[in-house]
Structure formats: structure tokens, C-alpha cells
């Protein structure tokens, strides 16, 4: 834990965790308090495919980061590409779910407390996924262009820590929204 990047990234993760915690608290507090429907159990179904993709992307990014540390720039790029694709599948799933909720079920952020807290929490998480995917995609491009070198291994590892955090938050969101909340 003695490098600047590691300490900095841990601090960032703590700050982000604090941010997410407040949205989770709001979600839990408002469970069951919507005055009108639609209600969670009516319209939510567990996003299994997206979850599997997102969580396995934590494995692929870890493998990719370790590959770079061992000198495999190309292999790192390949694993990171897989990570990006898995993350993209997750986002596509979220987009599909939102499209269904808005168009078919009539649930928007202004419909009721469920809509408000759901879109805020899931949307906050999705925005962090987007940021992570942008960073990972950039590294993939650098790997392909050979601008990425083994000396950058720690930096890639730090990005992978961010990604693990985002996945960890998804576990919490999944539990709170789709398990407890339904």
C-alpha cells in the first residue's frame, strides 16, 4: 500500500462508496412507501445475464492486469477487450430494462418514489460503469497500438481496482433492488 497511486485509488473508492451509500439508504428508506404504482414486484426481474457478465468481467480484468505485469502486452489487451465487451453487454441489458420499464410499464423517475430511487441508484451505478469502460477501452487501444508497456502494470492494476469496486457496488445494488426490494 505504499505507492501513491494505490493510496489515491483507495481514497477514491472510499469517497465513491460514501456516495453510493447515501443512494442505497434512500432506496431502502423509501421501500414500500410509494403512494402509487408500479411497484417493484410488478415490474422488476433479476438481470441474470448482465450480472454474470459484469461479475465475470472482474475476473477477466484481473487476468489482464496480471498478464501485463508479466510482460504480455498483447494478452493484456485481449483480456481487457473481453472485459469491455462483457461490460457492454451489462450496459445493454440495463438499457433494455429501462426501455421496457419506461415504455411498457410507465415507470419514470417522476412516477413515484420507487421510480425516483430506482433510476437514481441504478443510473449512478451505470454511469460509473460507463466511466470504467471508457478507461478500459482506452487501455485496450493503447495495448493494440503498443503504447502500453509492462512498466504501466501498476496503473492498469489501479484501473482494475476501480472496476472491482464498480462490480462490488453492483452486488449491493442487486441485493437491495432485486432481492430485498422486490
Amino acid at each position: 500500500m505504499s505507492s501513491r497511486g494505490r493510496v489515491g485509488m483507495v481514497c477514491l473508492i472510499v469517497a465513491e462508496a460514501s456516495l453510493f451509500a447515501v443512494f442505497v439508504v434512500a432506496y431502502l428508506f423509501y421501500l414500500g412507501k410509494s403512494l402509487t404504482g408500479p411497484f417493484p414486484s410488478d415490474v422488476l426481474s433479476v438481470p441474470v445475464l448482465g450480472t454474470v457478465c459484469l461479475l465475470s468481467s472482474s475476473v477477466t480484468v484481473a487476468v489482464g492486469a496480471r498478464a501485463l505485469a508479466r510482460g504480455g502486452v498483447g494478452r493484456c489487451g485481449a483480456w481487457l477487450l473481453v472485459t469491455v465487451l462483457l461490460g457492454a453487454v451489462f450496459l445493454a441489458g440495463t438499457a433494455a430494462e429501462w426501455s421496457r420499464l419506461i415504455m411498457r410499464e410507465g415507470l419514470t423517475v417522476s412516477t413515484n418514489l420507487f421510480g425516483t430511487t430506482y433510476y437514481a441508484l441504478v443510473g449512478l451505478h451505470a454511469s460509473h460503469v460507463v466511466v470504467g469502460l471508457v478507461m478500459l477501452a482506452l487501455i485496450t487501444v493503447f495495448a493494440w497500438s503498443r503504447a502500453l508497456r509492462p512498466v504501466h502494470a501498476e496503473r492498469v492494476e489501479l484501473v482494475s481496482w476501480y472496476w472491482h469496486f464498480v462490480d462490488g457496488v453492483w452486488v449491493v445494488v442487486l441485493t437491495v433492488v432485486y432481492v430485498i426490494g422486490r
Binding site: 501513491r4 447515501v22 434512500a26 423509501y30
Partner: protein
Amino acid sequence: MSVLVPPIETPEAAAAGAGWPARLHEWVVTVDHKRLGVMYVVAGLAFFLIAGIEASVMRWQLAAAGKTTVSPEVFNRLFTMHGTTMVFLVGIPIVFGFANYLVPLMVGARDLAFPRLNAFGFWAFLFGGLLLYFSFLGGDGLYGAGSAPSVGWFAYAPLTARAFSPGNSTDYWNLSILVMGFGTVATAINLITTTLTMRCRGMTLGRMPLYVWMMLVVSGMTVMALPPLSAAQVMLLLDRFLGAHFFDTQAGGSAIMWQHFFWFFGHPEVYILMVPGFAFVSEIIPVFSRKVIFGYPMVVAASLAIGFLSMTVWAHHMFAVGMGSPLNAAFAASTMLIAVPTGIKIFNWVATMYGGRIRFATPMLFACAFLFQFLCAGLTGVMLAVVPFNWQVTDSYFVVAHFHYVLVGGLVFTIFGAIYYWFPKVTGRLLSERLGRWHFWLFVVGFNVTFLPMHWLGMIGMPRRIYTYPADRGWDFWNLVVSLGVLFQAAAVLVFVVNVVIALRRGARAGDDPWDAWTLEWATTSPPPPYNFETVPVVGSRRPLWDLKYPADPDGPHE
């Protein structure tokens, strides 16, 4: 563990005698922690003058019953902007600006861990501040509903809902603070990383100056406490722009939830503001008493305890909202508990003075006034923790007195002390002691004349945030006294500004170590070179310069 950092170019424009555009450019693009620190403090002091004028207008209006110098709208904007400015545009930038300047020097490092992130933090603050003040011009939304925000600095829901605050003035409040929050968290991350990874050889955590310890605690609190404010502000944004219902009581939303989220940030925030003041006096009092701080480990432990406990007391701002007796009692307990480590520090400072040879230079004058004023502030805080007493005086001028004793009698006084103490290091010149004394005495008189009677006004029924009051309440006399104190404070600040201007032009040369102090910043030139130290220091105790000056009796064996 020192880290090799790629060298930062020496600013050559100034050396080459280039014109002002080139020098301005240097400052705009700088990532040097010393320059950014100066910029933070200068900007913070400028906002201090503005917020002081806002307060002066309010006190002019309240000097007698029924005055109508300014309209209710303007008055409500004034107290909102005064509070918001003082907390976010004066307190935060000045304390983090000082940390910016001092922490790398005190740990023997060359700069902060992330210099470009540091610059980002400053510009985010400045942008946010300008955005907030732009509201005076641009706040009239579609409905022409007002200019600067008038919702109070803590912006309770549902007053901040579109229905009750139309137009865009509330949005200026919201967005500007949101932006500044990101900068503050970035700076806190920078400080933590620097402190944990870039200390010079020999400087274990147990040998860091107390200033560095306390800024570490402050930064830790910032990282945990700022994001909840940002979260609440995003929720307010969603409510106001996308019709969300986070704080919409018509849809089942909770107005109290805003208060919980806000104060979960807001209470640590006031410790984030005050602990740097403790950090300043923890450096100043020992030097001017000529004694090592009494009980260093205890002061560190107390600071850590304060940092942790400050996250457990937030709802003591909410004793009147109807949380119920169990919660009221719980928060009374945690609030009283935090008084213990806070009081301990006062004892440590006084014990440091005991047996000393106290020299009352201007920094020490401010530190001594701080001791009495902060003692008063802390005790009124303990009184406020007694919930039934709180039911009477919360949201009254008693509480206004309490927090001004903390933030002016505590923080502003220690900031002035810090300025007099470190100005020679930053500029290479000494401020005038004579003008410093005038500044001090005018300010201490003015401050107490203004804020002491406010305790009484609260106890005889005067609530906060009222633009006027009826003549039959018996509040006239003390309100007049309160307002008169403003004149002394204004004169004091004027003397201070004159002192700074004169000193910059023809102040006496300070030399490396004008105060005969003991921490590493005094081991380099005044001002320090861009790279801070010619050779990376190696330390063997908490007071490296004491060891150098008294090699026969170094600190190490005593610690």
C-alpha cells in the same frame, strides 16, 4: 519514504524579467503546491471580505426594530450567501490552501502526490465560487423569480423544491457547491496520499508534525463526509429538473431525509473547518511558549477520536424535528462524548504554555484569544447537547453565537495567527508587529461585542434568519450593541489589509527561520525554492530543527 518525482521546471519568466502576461500565465498554469496554496488563501480572503460586507448590511438592518433598509428578499439572499460563502468559499479554501502549502514542506517532500489534480481542485473551487456569485446576475429564471439563492446555507427541503423556490437561484447554490465538492475531495485525496507515501526518511507517522496529523484526519473526514452532500445535491437536482420525489412530501417523500443527509455531511464539515485551526495552534503555541507540545500522542489520539466521533453526532442539528426520545437521547450522548477529546486538546495547549517563556508576538496573541473563545464555543456546544435546552435555543441567536464563536472566535482567529506566522515563510518578509497588535485588539473587541450578546438574544426568544423584529420584544438594545461590534471588526480587517500591502512592498526581510521554530518548513529559504529542499531531509524526532539547534539534547530519547 521519499519518492523520486520528475523535476518541475523552475519558473524562468520571472527570473528573466518578463512582463506581467508571462507571470500571470505562470500562475494560471502552475501545479506547484506553494503557488496553489497562495492562490487558495488569497481567493478565500477575497471572499471573506465579500461575505463580511454581506454580514455588515444585515447587521445594519437589524440594529433597530422594523428597519427596512433592504427588502425581505435581499436580506434572505444576504444571509444565505453569507453562510454559503463563509463555509465553502472562505473556510474550506483557506484551510486546504494552507495544507497545500505546508504539508509537503513539513514532511520534507517536493510537492503533493498529484500536482495536476491539485490544480484541478483549485480551479474547481474558483469556478464554483464564481458560479455562485454569478447568481446575482443570472439567477432570474423563466419566472423572474429572484437572483441569488435565498434558501439558507443548509437549504432545507421542501423550501428548495421548485414549488417554493421557482427560478434558478437554488440551482446556482446546488451546482456551485457540487462542483466545489469534487475539488475538495480531490485535494483531500492528494493530502492523504502525500502524507502516507511521501514523508522523508526517518519521519515515521509518530514523528509527523501535529499539523500534518490533523490535516490527515481532516482529509479522511472530507473523503467520507463530502460525498453525502453531493449525493443529496444530485437528488435535489433530480427533484427540481426531472420531477423526482426524493424530498417531495406530496408523493410520500421525506423532508427530514434532506436534513439527515445534509447534516451527515454538515457536522463533519464544521470539524473539517475547525480542526485545521487546532492544527495551526498546535504549531504556534509550542514555538511561542518555547516548549514542546505537552502530550503529543494524546493530542494525536484526541484528533483521531474527533474525526471518528464527528461522524456520529449529526442529528444534534435536528432535535426539534420530532425524531423521538430514543434518538434524541442517543445523539445527545454522542455529542457530549465528542466534547471530551476536544476539551483534552485545550488542556494540552494550556499545559504547553505552563513552564514556558511565552513571547506574545501577533501569532501568539491570536492563539491565546482562540483558547478563551473556543473554550466558550465548546461549552455552549455542550449546553446545546442538553436536548431540552436545545429545544429552546436551537434556530435562535444562541446557536448563531455558538457557531460564530467556533468559526470566527476559533477558526478565523487561528487563520489570522497562521497568516502572521507563515507569511514570512511564504513571502520572505515580516508583517508589522505594531499593525498586528492593532489588528488583534480591534478584532478581539469587535468580535466579542458582536457575538457575546447574541447568546442572550437567543435565550430571550430571538429566532434566526429574520429580516426584522417587532419593537415590543425587548431585543432592541442588544441588537444595537451587536451591530456596533461590526465597526471594530471592519476596522481590524482594514488594518490587516494595510499590513499585508505594506509588508509585501517594504516589510523587513524574514530569513529562513524568524520565529526560531522546529518543523521542516523553517529549514529552507523564505520563500522556499520551487523544489522545496536542496537535499531531502532526514529526521530523527518530531522537532528536527530542535535537534539541529541542540545536538546535545535532541528530542528523540524523550519521545
